[in-house]
Symmetry: C2
């Protein structure tokens, strides 16, 4: 069912509100809902928009099947008029927003859905589920890519998260510059490069470590990566080079003090003549552990848990708030949960040198005239229900890299601090 | 594709190991892989096994389609002999383990997969994805249920997590005693009660709060729950009772100092004669916030983010380790990542009074004779590829409640501490 329809990735209250609005005549009011975050978590300096293509897929698939409607009627969740409305439901409104891979900041209006109340209110949950998950992973992944510098970094966290979230996580990580993923479904579904060689189980399966290495080299060639820390690392490296020869592709270290072990291993490999053999490290790496390995002789990183759980921040904290009804800005009045009414367009402002200086979020109705160095961030993603955004994942990845490259230097620091850019909302 | 086959929820290294093992003749060795956790995170005192039924579904659906095999061959991830093996893949081994809802502790052998190396190694990622996600949610949810005491608690976190993870989260929360979920797909797929009334957007849609309340009451009856904190809470309650009358079902408060507001709201409702109107609170509730509201006049809780992200622990930290090859126990030797070899059976031991005292994990080959007060935790879930576990979600929910009821009192504390039971592994 999930593959045919995204319509039940929905909180029940959306159908309750729809039912009441259909009855009282307000269902057809023209509304804009805005997705934004009130803060960046944990003193982070930027967020990264991810999941936009998945959101547009979900909107296109937001159709109620007969089985779904029968179930909702039988459970008394909807009445007959609501069922009739839902049977014909297709989103026919407009969506503008930040493209995939774009950095964002507190109050960046990163997605705005405009349509009748009826058609727009129903999308709240699925839109937020996708953006909150994928953007949380992307924000953490971008920091790891930044910490890794020029060294490749592989996403291998599938086993630590829900099986479908794993596929979306691999996608979000690749978007931000990860080199590859271990997840085969992500490779098949999204065209992401996949990689993987062996686990400790493969060594334990064999009578000796040497037998395991011989088998792997016979099957994969000497360019493979041998996992050398099942028993004793020094002995493992000696055996690995003896079996594969000095052209061994790489060794992987998954335990211990990685910096110390990398130095020892590099020295041992060099002494054995395996000067071209690379060192891959993995094992509970987050952005801080990766940064701490910058001076160690490491050639690439494998990051797992920390990527898929957003390195301490598993959800991006984005909300979907009604900001405009029939051209009238609306806001909720409550102490810590304020929002700014009105449908907005956002621009990123830049110095003449090209460095970004801030964001402006201006009322769409205001007819703001941008300067030449301003970049419009709110692009047409869907108009009258027709999808206009079709960037490939590779294109979005390139966009992310370009947009990050012009952020001010302070915005890229791993340490806690203020948001890298201020968003001026008017 | 995901609905037909779970086979690509898999890390590539499993196929690499399979390829090498098929070539060297070790693929047919009889292996047992054990799922366990080395510690309970954050000083928690118990974990909760969740996702067992989903694991067994995924094992049954672990079949490679022609399209998948063509893709793997084209990407040079597998060779022709491996493709031939995978084309006929069906898991034909045995799975024993803890039933869904069972509490567990460090080194509890909560799932053991036995079969040829080839058939068992391939299941690592999908088994761990499901158990790590669902058990993380269940562990957090169980603590919230415990904190809520006799008051109902509703899961409403879908928007904060991946859209499919949301469905699994609703299931895991219900397993531990949550009363209902907001997630409609969880209702449809798993038969979980669903609930939901309205959001702030519904009030903002209307010209006045009164118009919104009148519409909701007209559609849903006076038994509905009105959200009264869009503008001013005192005014909202006054309007709510004026519109619905003193038989108003409930009010929901989603912001502010919930304890203080609940006391004020209760007094105001009582003064207005709405003595039967209930108070529902929501807004960033975790187990500690719920516990802190124990003395406040609150009738039920809505918990969102904290449930679906495991209240600070979004993954359960479970691993899938090879423990036995052709009857020989195997273990990796590394400092912080030890495991105990051998296929094991686990028993929970109890005092004569019925209170649990610990767990024994004994070698399956040892022929341990349990005493009358011991309960075998390792039950047959699948034998020779045939599923034997078919408890309904309601039955698993009842099992969870019964198993929690006999844990020692210290094991149920929210504060950080040692695991509630020790697991003695021999």
């Amino acid at each position: 069912m999930a593959d045919e329809s995204s319509a039940l990735f929905t909180d029940q209250y959306e159908l309750t509100m729809l039912t009441a609005a259909l009855a009282d005549g307000t269902a057809g009011r023209r509304c804009s809902f805005e997705v934004f975050g009130r803060r960046l978590p944990n003193g982070r300096r930027y967020g990264v928009v991810a999941g936009v293509a998945r959101v547009l897929d979900a909107v296109a698939d937001f159709r109620f099947t007969g089985t779904q409607l029968d179930g909702l009627l039988a459970a008394d969740i909807i009445n007959a008029p609501t069922a009739e409305f839902l049977a014909d439901y297709r989103f026919t409104g407009d969506i503008i927003g930040y493209v995939e891979g774009e950095p964002y900041f507190p109050y960046s209006p990163l997605l705005t859905v405009t349509g009748t109340f009826a058609e727009a209110v129903l999308l709240e949950t699925v839109v937020l589920s996708i953006l909150n998950h994928d953007s949380a992973v992307a924000a953490a992944a971008a920091r790891m890519v930044s910490a890794a510098g020029d060294r490749p970094i592989i996403e291998m966290g599938s086993r630590r998260t829900h099986e479908e979230a794993a596929v979306a996580s691999a996608r979000a990580a690749y978007l931000t510059g990860f080199t590859a993923t271990s997840n085969l479904e992500a490779g098949m579904r999204w065209g992401i490069p996949t990689t993987g060689t062996s686990a400790h189980a493969f060594t334990l399966l064999h009578d000796t470590e040497q037998a395991a290495f011989e088998s792997q080299v016979a099957a994969m060639g000497v360019g493979t990566t041998l996992l050398i820390d099942t028993y004793d690392i020094g002995q493992g490296i000696e055996t690995a080079v003896r079996v594969a020869g000095p052209k061994l592709g790489a060794i992987r270290i998954d335990s211990g003090d990685l910096a110390a072990v990398a130095h020892q291993s590099r020295a041992q490999l060099d002494a054995l003549g395996a000067i071209g053999t690379k060192i891959v490290v993995s094992g509970d790496l987050d952005e801080f552990a990766i940064a701490a390995l910058a001076a160690a002789p490491v050639d690439s990183y494998g990051a797992g848990t920390a990527v898929v759980v957003g390195s301490g921040v598993p959800t991006a904290g984005l909300v979907y708030k009604l900001v405009e009804v029939d051209g009238r800005p609306v806001t909720k009045r409550s102490e810590n949960k304020g929002s700014v009414g009105g449908r907005k367009l956002a621009y990123r402002t830049h110095r003449a040198s090209g460095t970004a200086t801030g964001e402006l979020a201006v009322q769409a109705s205001a007819g703001h005239q941008p300067s030449d160095s301003d970049r419009l961030l709110s692009v047409d993603l869907m108009r009258e229900g027709q999808r206009l955004f079709d960037a490939s994942l590779e294109e979005s990845r390139a966009h992310h890299q370009a947009a990050m490259a012009v952020l001010p230097w302070e915005a890229l620091k791993l340490s806690k601090g203020d948001p890298g850019l201020d968003v001026s909302v008017s």
